[in-house]
Amino acid sequence: MDAFAYANPATLSEATALLASSLYDAQVLAGGTDLISLMKDYLLTPATVVNIKNIKELGGVAKGPGGLRIGATATFDELASSAVVKTEYPAIHAAVTGLTSPQLRNMGTAGGDLCQWPRCWYFRNGYGILAMKDGKSLVPGGENKYHGIFGGPAYFVSPSSLGPALIALGAKVTLANAAGKRTVDAAKFFVAPKDETTRGIDLQAGEILTEIVVPPAAGKNATYEIREREAMDWPLATASVCLKMSGGKVASAKVVLGHVGPVPVDSAKAAEFLAGKSIDEATAEQAGAAAVEGAKPLSQNGYKVQLAKVAVKRALLAVGKA
């Protein structure tokens, strides 16, 4: 990797000041599980690396009156071992434990999970976030079995484990820069890129993701993940659901698909379909079918339509059982 300056601030204001002064040339280091490999492959070549692990206020997983606060540098291991997360936010717990590498859980952070770059193998081999060659995406005519079924012009899939669950639960993400803070809905944080200047998330130059706040769980929730192997592997499809129930029937629902498009897919159609229904096998199956309406599979990833459907069905049935 190229040489870089290393900064180790102790406070958020020091960190944002550092980022403000170095603009696009700085990268934030938390767990480093993605950043370091990107740097070793020369896909990112920051002049400055700002370590935020020593900023105390960015850590921790705690329940408060406003809901669950997850600090940006809270590790997946902290999330996996949190009793509150396990009992009240099973959708998050399942998303976290789906990451089966102890090494990644020990090092990887919640903020990093949201801010990581796509795993698309064209991107990782140097073809950019849109996988372009000679003005054309390599994905539709190439090896696309792991790519999105809700894509174009970006065909990569959002790699975030937490994203779908956070969106289903109505979480908000706080971002800070030298001028102050802003808060966005988790759903709005993910943005499908249209060109090479954006990267799939609403993180502006000079900003640090500081925390995630999940409102008190207003409904039963679950995540179901399908991947090729049990060892550390990226999901082929996931579904996170959150249901507010009333008298055994769904009052309102959120159904969010993961790893099927450049952003998590919040399915209004599935939510609409579920409203007023009780959850059984047939309803769950039909909700799955509704969730994948509008999918545009590529030459090798038609199977992901089926997987997304099944993930929705099984997530709903898990909620039904809970």
């Binding site: 795993r119 190439g142 399908i226 038609g302």
Partner: protein, 714 residues
């Protein structure tokens, strides 16, 4: 001639015992130093600049900026202007620098201007291969057309198995220090004895100057026989850097691109049988690629194991693609042959409406070792509870379908040429020296076992020295030849040394030397422990002399002596569950029944089979090289999307070693390869049995399983 034969089974005290790997602890604690851990003082880091393109010509190369970078000690151009590049990863330049970072930065400062040429990397698409496809010519036995006319059932299918790589945990590479007239060579190799000579030739020094040392290695699987271009480069960089040692190991991407692979095979197979299940005819059209060199398959070995089928028509085409070349991959060709054969036969059994176990057993007469396979299939079926659990294809209930499948293997495994020196010292200490390596087979353990057995000593009394070309030469570890080779040479050397000791001791015990035996740390008159000398006292009689005796195994003539032989057979039965909603395959059990003659250490033998079965789960369920025809590059030259099994993906592995006395009498036979052959076929057949339809290509990932199910339902 001295009697070298193995002691009878019932008399063995060390051989045949479940002794744990002597180097297990140092390996698992990290105390064992692999050659990639060797860091001599003044160490430099060497790196290779490799081609980012699949097919190109070098228009110009400029190394000046790299040479100017402070810390760079030497830069060498391997392929200069005008040279053609044939695969991504081909070596273009090498350099050495004082740190790894400087070396990598310097490699990026070498400016290469390429003319991009047209590439071809998709060998499955045979129609587009053009002149890159080289047919081997048709082989015909009997009258296949007539046999198809007379067959009661015919099955036709398409079967495919992709290119996979070796994925050695310790990548290929070496450290070399070339100072004056001495070259110190620390490679990661399967070939300790001969590798130094190869390096010596390439750098033009007498072999006497090259000192090879390797105590531990992190996997080879057939890919670490040669010194390789990077060995030569490493030595030349050391010389050009004033004799400072240079360490050059491939990085993970290079390891997957350059260090060998197992060729793919694609096949259209047609087979026919009589109503009673007798296989009468085999026809195959196969094509394959192992990179630029095409892909030989030994296709005339099909149908694998069931080779004596009376009617055959075989066509094979090797396809050259722009990818790194194949290397031997744990049982070269055999995995593919077993996979293609067993899948086609399993489909034929289903077509006949026959239990595939019965079909595989019925046709064992088509194998020269049919009786052994029959026994093993029955034994495996008993362990698997086949008759209780097996159901006809696709009749398992519920969304989770269970299935059983069979794969078979065969191998030679004759011990290679090996020389051993056994030394008995007057103080009673014993050293055994062989220029061999422990590829993972347990050489470091089984050689002392044989020596201890012969000399009537406990294993800790034996010092075993290996891993250096200063010791008597022994063959490369390939083809499952090591255990046969080193046990035979060790047995002979230690018998010879012991006979010398008997001659020295005989007068003291008042009997001729041939009336003595070594038992329980004593030299005694045969069958008479009362008339004995302790090992120490016996050795003390050597005075100032020591005994040094050689033992030699000559592979070609060894079977006649009875210590070793060849011809291993085995079968695997897989038990899987398939979630037909997600297409995800879960391996419940993989049962391996294997013969390999006399088993020196059943624990290590089982360990070999465990490893082979784990590799089979990778190849069956996860592992494949993915190349993109648009750009001519490998997309998954990493350990993220080049997927291997993790601990929770493996399932239960059950090993049954065929230890029957008639097997033991055959002597030692190599085991490394055979159990790595049939597992992929067994798992593929189990999945077909579970879901009721053939999934055409391994690995059996959800996309392929779901596509096969959709085809069935259409």
């Amino acid at each position: 001639m001295p009697d070298y034969s193995w002691p009878p089974m019932e008399k063995r005290k060390v051989i045949g015992k479940r002794i744990s790997r002597l180097d297990g602890m140092v390996k698992s604690t990290g105390a064992a130093k692999y050659n990639s851990d060797i860091n001599p003082p003044g160490l430099l880091f060497g790196v290779l600049l490799t081609s980012p393109h699949g097919h190109a010509r070098i228009k110009s190369i400029d190394t000046s900026e790299a040479e100017r970078l402070p810390g760079v000690t030497a830069v060498r151009v391997i392929l200069g202007a005008g040279k053609e590049i044939q695969w991504q990863g081909q070596e273009i330049a090498s350099l050495a620098a004082v740190t790894e970072d400087i070396a990598r930065d310097a490699a990026r400062k070498i400016k290469v201007d390429y003319e991009i040429l047209e590439h071809f990397v998709d060998e499955e698409d045979l129609a587009k291969a053009g002149s890159r496809a080289k047919p081997a010519g048709e082989v015909t036995t009997g009258d296949p057309d007539k046999a198809f006319q007379e067959a009661d059932a015919i099955s036709q299918g398409y079967y495919a198995i992709p290119v996979i790589t070796h994925c050695c945990l310790e990548p290929h590479g070496q450290t070399v220090r070339w100072r004056g007239e001495r070259v110190d060579y620390w490679p990661s190799t399967q070939n300790v004895s001969a590798l130094g000579a190869e390096l010596a030739r390439s750098i033009k020094v007498p072999v006497t100057q090259v000192h090879t040392d390797m105590q531990y290695m992190g996997g080879g699987f057939g890919s670490k026989f040669p010194a390789d271009l990077w060995g030569t480069e490493c030595a030349e960089l050391s010389k050009a850097s004033g004799g400072r040692p240079v360490k050059m190991f491939l990085d993970r991407q290079q390891e997957l691109l350059m260090a060998g692979n197992r060729p793919s095979v694609f096949g259209e197979i047609k087979v026919g049988a009589k109503k009673d299940g007798s296989l009468t005819v085999w026809q195959s059209k196969t094509w394959a690629s192992g990179g630029l060199g095409g892909g030989n398959l030994n296709a005339d070995q099909m149908p694998y194991v069931y080779r004596n089928v009376p009617n055959r028509r075989i066509n094979h085409t090797a396809v050259s693609i722009n990818a790194g070349s194949a290397r031997a991959w744990r049982a070269p060709n055999n995995q593919q042959l077993s996979y293609i054969t067993c899948c086609a036969l399993d489909d034929l059994a289903a077509k006949l409406g026959m239990d595939s176990l019965d079909f595989f057993i019925k046709n064992t007469s088509l194998s020269p070792r049919g009786e052994v396979y029959k026994y093993q299939l029955e034994k495996g079926a008993e362990i698997a509870e086949w008759k209780k659990l097996w159901k006809p294809r696709g009749t398992s209930n519920g969304p989770i379908k269970r299935g059983l499948g069979i794969g078979v293997n065969m191998w030679g495994g004759l011990g290679h040429d090996s020389k051993c020196r056994a030394i008995i010292n007057p103080d009673g200490s014993v050293e055994v020296q062989i220029g061999t390596q422990d590829l993972g087979v347990g050489t470091r353990t089984i050689v002392p076992q044989v020596a201890a057995e012969t000399l009537g000593l406990p294993m800790p009394a034996i010092k075993f020295s290996m891993g250096s070309n200063a010791y008597p030469p022994s063959g490369a570890s390939g083809g499952s030849t090591t255990v046969g080779g080193v046990t035979a040479s060790t047995r002979k050397a230690t018998v010879n040394a012991l006979n010398k000791l008997f001659e020295v001791v005989a007068p003291s015990l008042g009997v001729p030397a041939d009336q003595l035996e070594a038992v329980d740390r004593k030299i005694q008159v045969k069958g008479n422990p009362a008339k004995s000398l302790s090992w120490q006292a016996a050795c003390a009689k050597l005075g100032v002399n020591r005994i040094e005796e050689m033992g030699e195994n000559v592979g070609r003539t060894a079977p006649r002596e009875g210590l070793i032989s060849q011809g291993a057979a085995g079968i695997q039965i897989a038990d899987v569950s398939v979630d037909i909603e997600t297409g995800k395959v879960k391996l419940n059990r993989l049962i391996a029944v294997q013969d390999c003659g006399l088993i020196v250490n059943p624990k290590l033998a089982e360990s070999q089979i465990f490893g082979a079965c784990i590799m089979s789960t990778c190849g069956a369920l996860y592992e494949e090289r993915v190349m993109d025809q648009q750009i001519g590059k490998t997309l998954n030259a990493d350990m993220e999307f080049y997927k291997l099994s993790g601990i929770n993906d493996i399932g239960e592995i059950i090993v049954h070693l065929d230890l029957r006395p008639e097997m033991d009498k055959r002597g030692v036979i190599g085991l490394g390869e055979p159990p790595a052959i049939g597992g992929i076929a067994a798992i593929a057949n189990a999945v077909a049995n579970a879901v009721g339809v053939r999934v055409h290509m391994v690995p059996l990932t959800p996309n392929r399983v779901l596509e096969a199910l959709a085809r069935r339902n259409a």
